[in-house]
């Protein structure tokens, strides 16, 4: 089956996806440290929304990875 995009284009797309994954990961790391600080400080109000955002970030990352695998096939 012929590729719809050239290899160079695919490289660019995959590099872009990787950048988004890394940015989401940095966001998650920041979120985790901020949530831990809030939790240890007794501020329990932010913990549930932060857990939801962290899970959404993971799902986005997983979705991007899934797309990457599909593009490479």
């Amino acid at each position: 089956m012929k590729r719809r995009v050239s290899r160079d284009q695919l490289n660019t797309i995959i590099s872009g996806m990787l950048c988004v994954v890394l940015m989401l990961l940095v966001l998650q790391l920041w979120l985790l440290t901020a949530t831990m600080n809030a939790y240890l400080g007794g501020d329990h109000g932010v913990v549930a929304p932060a857990a939801a955002v962290g899970t959404i970030c993971f799902l986005l990352n997983f979705g991007l990875f899934w797309q990457m695998r599909r593009l490479e096939q």
């Binding site: 949530t35 899970t55 991007l64």
Partner: protein, 184 residues
């Protein structure tokens, strides 16, 4: 015996661009498509990043569960610590509240002034030592310094204030009422 390369796809490229026949034997035995190898390396790297992302998400959910468990436990019951007369001005008493592993320190800063904080430094949980004359609590491990009046960090690595134990008096005794955890 001549080697046959008919089964090697045309897309296989060599890093130096020379023909396949001129490549060293180890590369001829294991031909590597360099652009494809880049793809595999990035895919593996992304897979690892997604795994790290999963670990972070699990950590967030774990904090949420711990928070829910703490809130379900409710506030602590009040408890007598020590008789007022037993603590001299400038003296300190160690106690645990509300659980046996929650180490606290009670300090009498003036005749009618008592303060109590968690005795675990908010940096790495070393025991803090009250210094009433200087008006501070010192952490000997990394030279953290907390204000004795408020429990807020003054110097060193700690960033969060010490959890404060709310105190009351009851029939000549100092009573621990609750623990106030703070971020600032």
């Amino acid at each position: 015996m001549a080697e046959s390369h008919d089964d090697i796809p045309l897309s296989v490229l060599t890093p130096d661009g020379r023909p396949f026949e001129e490549q060293p034997k180890w590369r001829r035995d294991f031909p590597i498509d360099v652009p494809e190898d880049n793809h595999v390396a990035r895919r593996d790297f992304t897979k690892f990043m997604v795994l790290v992302s999963f670990a972070f998400a699990v950590g967030q959910c774990w904090i949420w569960l711990m928070s829910a468990w703490r809130r379900a436990r409710g506030t602590s019951a009040s408890r007598r610590i020590v008789a007022v007369a037993e603590v001299p001005v400038g003296g300190a008493v160690s106690f645990s509240y509300p659980n046996p592993h929650d180490a606290r320190v009670l300090v009498r800063t003036a005749a009618d002034d008592f303060v109590a904080y968690s005795s675990k430094c908010t940096h790495l949980s070393c025991a803090v030592i009250p210094d009433v004359t200087a008006g501070v609590l010192r952490c000997p491990c990394h030279h953290g310094l907390f204000d004795l009046a408020t429990g807020r960090p003054l110097a060193g690595p700690p960033r969060r204030p010490l959890p404060r134990v709310q105190l009351g008096r009851e029939q000549g005794y100092i009573v621990a009422l609750n623990v106030e955890e703070r971020t600032t």
